[in-house]
Symmetry: C2
Subunit: 584 residues, 2 copies
């Protein structure tokens, strides 16, 4: 870090979560102590071929690993805890504090990844205070969100109190009865909050976000009116929603079969900790379902986003072995498509309808609400905490800008806020907020096999392969420059009607032509053929082959050209068309 | 076609446009005469790697080319005329009737593709009647839509009058003053319409679609308030919108520079035909723009959908040579993102904002309206035409279902309508509508080079290449089964940290191991090595190499293995590790 930054100031460095929804990861640094707040993952977007998981560049943390005193987790969503198992392979975090449900989910993740032996996981409850390092005292303040057991935090630092909202909406009628601790926020507002760091997801949406409870009567009606089986799909992590669906199943005397690993996993953890309360006999295994009358069955499934491998998507594609849609089924999509998933979702809906299901979906049905506060929720947060400085986070750029405008409309001066990007180093003192530096803030891509970080070059190669396919040509050249085998050509992913035999013949001619035109020059001053500049010859041939392919195929596929030569060079120096034999 | 279909019935066979928005292509067939209505293209969706254009499978038309009497074009949108140049390479259409603007755009397309010499293009105007073949008399009825010069048609057939709405909304205050000919529709309703075939795009949207005029005051305000340069992006084909933007530029004393080939093209054709009226001196070339005061400039650009190569997208990525965004610029997105484009659009908006532009976007700004009618427009169409039978088209499955429900709510009996898919053969008689058959209805994919139709296998190969990359291995085996060159290995698009030298050594070992274990058996009964089953050996080696790659790379890339052998086999029969030399 540059010397712009004052000592005795707090540095806030978001490594992820800005200019995006995802991979929320924030560094708080004071002197030589770092505390992390959340470490999430993101999912790949278009063009990230073969990528499973997107992580923030953590080189700043790797370089400053000795400063890391601990981590604060606000809640258990993937975009807040999903990165932790990956990071623990690269640097240690001595202690992680978090709510019970998040810690329970995290524990599983760490065990599965085989990491975290040197990390202590400690659960916290409402109003718990935890000290991290010597500079940070963190207070957990209950908030309301789509995930159960979610918190905002007040971080007491040497420069003042910083409130990070975590993810929140203001839900006055929470499903689990755990109310937003507005009193504690107000108390901090009264005493003085130096800086508010606040969730910007719905900064563009006017009004208040409705209570999670508001979907209950609409789901109730949809299930009540269903003549046969009911399928419901929602986010596995929306614990309150899942809770209500299970409650409604019981009310309508339907047993529940749960499809999808993440749904089973969250339900197990949430039941175990009491966030979902229901009897064991509410659930039946899938193979029992077909033995029950249709009107006694509710199938709760993953796939609300049209994810290709999720249960509901496989059912829609008629690829699910045990579940087939039939006339009389009702399918409820209790989730809105996240931008980018819209086409996958509507395609799934259409497929289900074509097989005879009645599908209930769409914003006008009142069967989904956001877990993030809208403009009025955001104003209430600002009004309660009365911060001197403001830092909008958790959102794309225009959401951050809008959230900053909202704060200005409430009297926070424009110079008391910064709209930043990942990697920006925000310096906070008692009197100022400013960006003083930038740390690496790119992304790290992890592929399906988790076999390694996929870099930019590999992605570009994949893009080119995807668009035009690949032509592979192998040829073996003898030590006299003669083709000692018929060149082999292989097309994969290439669109063409070309005559293969003709193409192969043209390729052989081209290789022979290039070799014969270069051979004299290349072998001129050589004592021994093993000194011959094969790479040069190979690249000369390759250039001509590329030209040939463009001409013959009328497009520009990737080319892999492998020029082989016998292992043993002849002892005597060679000349073009010499009679030297190739050693076996 | 099967014998289910009665003679003396009208067959209606949509080859595209159902279960999708795009590639509208409809066949009307009576006895041995076919008339086509529109022939559009669609754009590729996720996973269609390297594809530029999606066309309907036209094998039914190719097989019945002798029946084709002509084509009716309703308007000039790409999803209604874009397929024609491709089709004319495969079968003749003797005559194409259509509105002036559509024909003008089509003429260009045909010239560019070098097709259509044997096709007569004839322009039509409101209430024109054209005879196609002996069975079809087609009447053009002016409608209102986002594209200028758009029509519905009444097709007089031996079984009765069929009205096809084309694309429409009911716009009582059209920008060009060309009013919807509701009178003619009503007259048909009075006389009796056998079947209505109607646009379902907005079947899920309640209410009326607002008039195109309604965006005028909002665009006016946005431009009036802009302190510096104004950029506006919209669909090039939205001629009315473009017209209003040009009018507003004049009003606010701004000259206009037009960016993007399609925008320039549509403006040229529309001005030429009088659909856009403005003076030449309204326009300035781009290189003049920088010499003018910012507040006298309006730049009208393509890229409203975040298309990667469009002008506005290149400006946002700072890749446009002549145009750089700066503080004080205002960018107006006068278009909503089509599902699937949302992420590209919001990323473009964010990038423009970060460079200092004020960006005006979003549904709440009143700067875009749809060109397709909502539920109330659709009801009005049903009310005016009072059809006996109803066929919803131009929409995804759930839109067709919803449109059918709307028709039922207005008294059309459920048994008097069919919700169909592309390729379904609808038989219409005076007394019945039913699906009697199915013709091929898949898609044909055309790649960037238009070099050929890309088939399913090629797409699957591209998908695999994209996800995991490709490993190419070439090895040359002598006639004694010995490796006569070091195997060459090339990775492309493969994510791995593996030691290359080690991998190459392991590959060589594997090849030698397979050869030595198979050689005796493969060569046992042979008189001459040229009889040796090389493909069998190659596939045995390939299987082992695949296993090796899975193990070593922990993923499963595509493998291309090229096994080479010298051209000339030795004359004597060989045995493993024989001393036979390889002929040069």
């Amino acid at each position: 870090m540059s010397q712009n930054a004052s000592s005795n100031s707090l540095k806030i460095i978001p490594l992820g979560g800005l200019h995006e929804i995802g991979k929320n990861t924030c560094v708080f640094e004071y002197n030589d102590e770092i505390v992390l707040l959340d470490a999430g993952l993101a999912f790949p977007t278009d063009g990230m071929h073969g990528i499973q998981v997107v992580l923030p560049d953590t080189s700043y943390l790797r370089e400053n690993r000795h400063k890391i005193k601990g981590m604060i987790v606000t809640h258990g969503h993937e975009d807040h805890i999903g990165g932790i198992p990956f990071h623990l392979k690269q640097f240690d975090i001595p202690v992680i504090y978090g709510p019970r449900l998040a810690m329970s989910l995290l524990q599983d993740k760490l065990e599965e990844a085989g990491v975290g032996d040197r990390t202590e996981l400690r659960t916290v409850g409402p109003r718990d205070m935890v000290r991290v390092g010597s500079s940070f005292l963190v207070e957990y303040i209950r908030n309301t969100h789509s995930m159960a057991d979610s918190f905002s935090v007040a971080i007491h630092t040497p420069v003042g109190v910083v409130i990070h909202t975590g993810d929140f909406k203001v839900d006055h009628t929470p499903v689990d009865g755990e109310r937003f601790d507005l009193q504690r926020l107000a108390e901090h507002g009264e005493k003085g909050v130096l800086c508010l760091i606040s969730d910007s997801t719905n900064a563009e949406v006017p009004g208040f976000t409705p209570s999670e409870r508001s979907v209950f009567p609409n789901l109730d009606r949809a299930i009540a009116q269903a003549p046969g089986r009911v399928f419901v799909t929602t986010f596995a992590s929306s614990v309150h929603r899942v809770n209500m669906i299970l409650e409604l199943a019981k009310k309508h005397k339907r047993v529940v079969s749960v499809l999808g690993r993440s749904m089973l996993n969250v339900i197990a953890h949430a039941r175990n900790l009491g966030y979902i309360k229901c009897d064991d006999d509410l659930f039946v295994p899938l193979n029992m379902v077909n033995k029950l009358p249709d009107e006694q069955v509710l199938i709760l499934s993953t796939g609300s986003q049209g994810e290709p491998m999720a249960a509901m998507s496989r059912i829609a594609r008629q690829e699910h072995r045990q579940v087939k849609i039939r006339e009389g089924d009702t399918v409820i999509f209790s989730a809105n498509p996240i931008p980018g998933n819209t086409i996958a979702v509507v395609n799934t809906i259409d497929k289900l309808m074509m097989q005879g299901a009645k599908v209930i979906y769409g914003r006008d049905k009142g069967i989904h609400v956001s877990g993030h506060g809208s403009q009025e929720d955001q104003k209430l947060m600002l009004a309660l905490t009365k911060p001197k400085f403001f830092l909008p986070v958790h959102g794309e750029h225009r959401m951050l800008v809008k959230h900053a405008e909202t704060a200005q409309s409430m009297g926070v001066p424009a110079e008391n806020m910064v709209v930043i990007n990942n990697g920006d180093v925000v310096e906070l003192t008692r009197d100022s907020i400013r960006v003083v530096d930038k740390v690496p803030s790119g992304i790290e891509l992890v592929d399906a096999a988790h076999s390694g970080v996929v870099n930019e070059r590999v992605l570009k190669e994949r893009q080119h392969l995807a668009e035009e396919g690949v032509v592979t040509i192998a040829a073996t050249l003898g030590w006299s420059g003669e083709l000692i085998s018929k060149p082999q050509v292989h097309l994969r992913g290439v669109a063409t009607n070309i005559d293969r035999a003709k193409l192969e013949a043209t390729i052989a001619q081209t290789i022979e032509l290039v070799v014969s035109s270069r051979w004299a020059e290349l072998t001129q001053a050589l004592d021994n053929l093993s000194e011959l500049n094969w790479p040069r010859l190979q690249s000369d041939i390759e250039m001509e082959l590329r030209r040939l392919l463009r001409r013959e195929l009328q497009n520009n596929p990737s080319l892999v050209f492998l020029l082989q030569t016998p292992i043993e060079p002849p002892v005597a120096s060679g000349r073009r068309r010499s009679t030297a034999k190739v050693a076996s």
